[in-house]
Amino acid sequence: MRLALPIALAIALPALAAEDLGPTLNKIKQSGIVSLGHRESSIPFSYYDDQQQVVGYSQDFALEIVAALKKELRAPDLQIKLVPVTSQNRIPLVQNGTVDIECGSTTNNLERQQQVSFSNSLFIVRTRMLTRKDSGIKDFPDLAGKNAVVSAGTTSERLLRKLNEEKKLNIKITSAKDHGESFLILESGRAAAFMLDDVLLYGELAKARRRDAWIVTGTPQSREAYGCSMRKGDAKFKALVDRTVARIETSGEAEKIYAKWFLNPIPPRNLNLNFPLSEEMKALFKSPNDKALE
């Protein structure tokens, strides 16, 4: 009779715990490993620095989320498995379970919400274009008949194709493998402009050989919110991630992370992006949310 209670507890507790966590947290707890999707050249969100370490604004958020996971699961030895992803494969890899959470520069939009779920937003960007200062290109209609480059799988790829079709601009669009290759195509003179999220364009500029030869220009074609992507339909995991992001953003910690990556010299070349905190970002930090913008 005395043994009955401990035995009952021993049987019931693990079962309770397993029920409580939801699939992703359960998997992380069971395996002792969390798979973190990151980008290789999405400066300054998630990229390799000169020591081949993954660093960046989104990566800082991701590490905070891992810290929260350790606390929540009471697993101080939780290991991080870093999985590099691209614009093209990030969503399939989140869907099929290769990565548990991906924090890079992934736009939260309604279409993608059909495929994955998004955390509270980390960042708000506008899609514009990068061009040579002396190219004479001021806005998107100026691209008519010219060559332009976009990174395959980005929202800019679709926006530019759609604009091209609707306005009959006859822009010849190249889809490059990643942002680094897109910039190479721009820099080598193959394309007159490179369309992408404004902040990522500033990031590419930080790598340019002659930084003052380039300019970010054009009427923003969209406003977009970045979030971490996770498997759909796992409310427990999402709640934990959202809570963590909201805590960072409302506590003032987010401003510090922002300053570190956007207002100070960053690796690999110790250049300063000088990208001031926008009104939209201030509003986001005041009231964190996971809304898709249009």
């Binding site: 395959a152 080598s188 193959r190």
Partner: protein
Amino acid sequence: MGPLDFHVFLQPVPTGETTYLGWLLQGLRTTVLLSACAWAVALLLGSLLGVLRTVPSRGLRAIATAYVELFRNVPLLAQLFIWYFVVPEIVPGGERFKQIDPWLQQFLASMVCLGLFTAARVCEQVRAGIESLSRGQRSAALALGLTLPQAYRHVLLPMAARIIVPPLTSETLNVFKNSAVCSTIGLLELTAQGRQLVDYTARAYESFLAVTALYLVLNAAVLLVMRRVEARSRVPGYLGAGR
């Protein structure tokens, strides 16, 4: 992920000019065109180099050998990047090349890369074919008063070409499969269209299954044609084909 749903191929693409199936077929057309052009380059250049590998002149042999070693020992992907990104920067006229239609730039770079890479492999097949002939054939041809080019033209090459059809078949299939590498420089061939389909529809399984099936059908067709060629060109008494 839900059950397989192939209806997605009949939906119009976001820009509306065709369906997703149309995208795949455009990709298939580019793959076929690219592979056929590259194969023509490879066959012409490879045959020439294969002959050079067997001529008496040491200098000519060395040139052909150096070519084979260079193109066989550098990864195809690295070669592609060199043709597309590096060569236009260092060759005169490269600036003009960079201003032509991007599709044509990608296509030409891919064709040259794939053609020259495969030429090194064809060269080795041709050399093996010529060397498999008994030395007496060359000697007899020369003893009859044929010049060396005539001996190649009328005696050695007709025999060698017929012997090497089976290994050339697998090189032909390789060209079609290797052409997938060209998606990395933005050429929208079959593999690239498949990936794009995944981006736009989130139907990864259906897209890649369709791409796989199209490659399979394509290579089966190539195989069928090459088998015909093989049967017609078989040399009686060689390779156990005395029927």
